[in-house]
């Protein structure tokens, strides 16, 4: 991708009615040098914009369509109507990140864990505590994971979570595949929701698609941490920087 060296990577932050973490996700990509468009899924459906014009897709958090039926389900159905475009994006090994509701969407579309026919292989279920929870939790990076978003990040740190349906659930076969292939890029150290294998985020085999429940965009600057440390950069910065550096 050498010819793009002098151009800003084009980022599409894709939202639906009820998406609400788009602003901070757009800003995060903007701060690391991306050229960001905030796009409603209807603009893709109507053909006003094309996915192939972009280098990175971000699916931000929120409550797309009110999380009716189950979290991310309706958004996932809309995306499936654009299945070809998305699959092409994945196969071209361009980065896709889904955060919180965006992760729920990636799971429900069958992009994570990846199924060639885009069938759902896992789910994110109601937290064990039975309700929404917002707090900073300790997480760990799997250094052996192919995930491009987590490259070179310190192994243990805190990230904020804010979700009601974040418990990663899959059958043993799927879980084994995830752990064997080191696709569990991010795990909880004090599991806050009952996720199997403490999974907080997973990637695909190539590492270009990444979905996670914690919010790196809310940890972009050090002053957004509950602990007032003197570090200049927040840990969240690196997730976005990695994606932009990758496509440059």
């Amino acid at each position: 991708m050498g010819e793009k060296n002098n151009m800003k990577p084009k980022v599409i932050v894709l939202r639906a009615s009820g998406t609400n973490c788009n602003l901070e996700t757009e800003k995060a990509f903007d701060y690391v040098g991306g050229k960001v468009d905030s796009v409603h899924i209807n603009e893709l459906v109507k053909g006003i914009r094309k996915l192939s014009d972009y280098d990175i897709i971000a699916l931000p958090g929120g409550f797309s369509f009110g999380d009716d039926i189950s979290a991310g389900k309706i958004f996932a159905l809309r995306i499936k109507s654009l299945k070809k475009d998305f699959d092409e994006f994945v196969k071209k090994k361009k980065p896709i990140i889904g955060i919180c509701n965006g992760f729920q969407v990636l799971i429900k579309t069958g992009f994570l864990p990846y199924h060639p026919d885009l069938k759902q292989k896992a789910t994110l279920y109601l937290n064990d505590i039975g309700r929404f929870v917002c707090k900073w939790v300790r997480v760990k990076i799997n250094k052996e994971s192919p995930c491009i978003f987590t490259r070179g990040i310190n192994s243990e740190f805190y990230l904020p979570i804010a979700h009601g349906e974040g418990k990663f659930v899959a059958d043993e076969k799927v879980l084994k595949e995830i752990t064997d292939k080191k696709l569990d890029a991010l795990t909880y150290m004090d599991n806050p929701n009952g996720s199997y294998e403490d999974i907080a985020g997973i990637t695909n085999e190539y590492g270009n698609v990444f979905g996670l429940m914690p919010h790196p965009e809310r940890a972009f600057f050090s002053y957004l941490s509950p602990s007032k440390s003197s570090n200049k950069t927040g840990i969240g910065y690196y997730f976005f920087k990695n994606a932009v550096d990758y496509v440059k």
């Binding site: 009615s17 009820g18 609400n20 973490c21 602003l23 901070e24 800003k27 995060a28 409603h40 209807n42 603009e43 958090g61 929120g62 409550f63 369509f65 009110g66 309700r131 929404f132 929870v133 917002c134 707090k135 900073w136 805190y158 904020p160 804010a162 919010h215 965009e217 809310r218 972009f220 002053y223 957004l224 941490s225 509950p226 602990s227 007032k228």
Partner: protein, 794 residues
Amino acid sequence: MREIKFIGSNEKTLVSMNKEYGWSLNLKELLMVKDYFEKLKREPTRAEIETIAQTWSEHCKHKTFSGPVEFIWKDRSGKIKMKKKFDNLFKETIVYATKKLNKKYCLSVFKDNAGIIELYPGSKWGICFKAETHNHPCAIEPYGGAETGVGGVIRDILGVGMGAKPVIDTDIFCFAYPDKKYDIGKGFLTPHNIISGVVSGVRDYGNKMGIPTANGAVVFDDSYIYNPLVYVGSAGLIPKDKINKKVVPQSLIVVIGGRTGRDGIGGATFSSADIEEETSSSHVQIGNAINEKKVLDVLLKARDMGLYTAVTDCGAGGFSSAIGELASDCGAEVWLDKALLKDENIEPWEIWVSESQERMVLCVPEKNLNKLKEICEMEECEFCVVGRFTDTKKLEVYHKKNKIIDLDMKFLHAGLVQIAKKAVYKERKTNYNSISIKNSEIPERFKKIISDLNVCSKRSIVEQYDHEVIGQTVIKPFCSMEQRVPSDSAVIWAGNVTGENNHRGFAVSCGINSRISKISPYIMSYYVVDEAVRNLVCVGADITRGAILDNFCSANPNYEDVMGDFTASAISASKAALDISMPYISGKDSFYNQTAVKNRVYKIPTTLLISAIAPVEDVRNAVSSDIKSEGNPIYVIGEFKKGMGGSVYRELFKGDDFVSSIDLKKNRKYYLKIIESMRKKHILSAHDVSDGGFLTAVLEMALCGKGVEINIGGIKDKYKVSDAEALFGECGSKIILEVDIRKEKEFINFMREAPMLKVGKVIQGSSFILTDKGNIVFKEDVLKLREIWERKII
């Protein structure tokens, strides 16, 4: 229901008709309506009377607070201390303070849906702030009541000026104890049911809106058994050039968002009456956060494209008050059959006054209509054109070909009759006697205090709210990496929204105190104004550019003692604001918070919520409340005062009910010093002393697992107070500071004129040690105390 007949009706008939239809109009007003229609030589329509009732309701007009009051103040012996007549109590207290202070950074006060101040000197942005109550709905349908309360105050922010982006919500509740057995009247909800419903409602609505709920308080007191108070606030950011709206005749009246239905008919008039055993929950509206989120997305996009010239929210009174207010200077023609409906089974007048949620009314020049339509379609937000603004100075409402309303704007908006209320304030008898407490009693009593619902951790509630969304929350409800230490104010960075490359932001806090109000509503206002401002000081916000909101809740103002307490607290709220030099920019009041059950009337004490807001120059320097490092000295700034009145200690054990008064002029001086000292980086953490008293406040700072050693001897010597007053008293205005040991000398020198005392230090390990002149009174592991403090509330 009978035919509506005003012409020729006698007073008795008018009064009984009023009750039957639930208009909540008083006799003088009914006679005025009668006069108006007798002059027109025709009977009013149902729609016209409903419009008048809504427009003149307590809920919409606040006629008690802005009406005339005959006030008498009696001292403890019953002797008259003061007599005063107010023509307009609100203007002569709250607004008076703002006018007198005349702060140039106030960009809009009292005239719009929210007050607005400047984000920083010369900034292109303003911060708007508004708080509301939703008490009556929450008493009968807590979940829906809380949801629509949050939805309503957010629409106030969307409807201020040309629309602002909400960036923080607040919630403050007053409940009876959920873990206490009450003999509850038939048909009423238990405190436990109310709390769970309200918390879930705030959570579900606020979280789905994508606005962080990041500041608040919960008060527990038996007085709120039948009348819970649910305050919700919202602050937003608005470009300065979008502060003014303009209604242009011939422009279209466009409604975006939710459809109109039969839910919430008569909500405004219902809130203007006492709750009775047979009060129906059909007065409460149904919320749908995603509809409102769509409205938010459409509105801000359309605003920045300049597609409309004015906007307001549909709140109490529905179209009737939204369109009525926008058109009050020009006039409007409305076509109700064009409104999108939830179902067709609705009367025309019901469409007009329905309080269905999530609707905003815009003034759109015809040429922009198609562009607005495009945005709405993309965002899947419904919209309809329901009329046109005119220059007739008349309100003309049609349903198909029928004209159902034809009223003069002048009559509707200026014709209100002001009723003089009698107010008698009687000072309560209080006794001061210095109570003693044995050293051996301190450990157990302290543990009981920190597990009291008014003191314990509110984390089980707070962590259900998303307080991080938008990625701007710098000081969160809990500080330290593990979020164990309660903060004093939320600090919000503004940069993601303003897009400015700086670290400007603002702080939001609150103050509320029902225990002191029961002893002295007059002194209470000083305490709550002071507490709200002191909370801002603790994070280092610039109070010289700050502002406050008043939200009074009271029982039925037709009782002269209720009105007396209310008036006394309004007078002191005004004085407190002047003394501390913080202007009011907006406010709201809620009366009739009382309920009769089995021949007994349950009234709430006058409860004043002060919400405070102030700019923060650099959010990276905001001071948090968690103790930072071993070896640092701990100081208390502010005097310890006499009296156990208003303390949690007194509620649990025995104690006198004396409350010392406080001097906010003096406080302001040392608050400014503290902020300056923070700028000089002398101070590493700060926390205010409130519920539970001094010892609780120190413990809270150490809950991140730090050890502290505190010496009480110096406090007793310097301020001549008893052990109980020093450790657990809640009189006075105190801030605890952890000072950087390397800057201690500089700090002492800089603060020398302030009432200041070194009370202890941060020690190695995690022991919490209390000593008195060298002897250990109490020693316990902080982590053990934390377990007690972190109990569940519901």
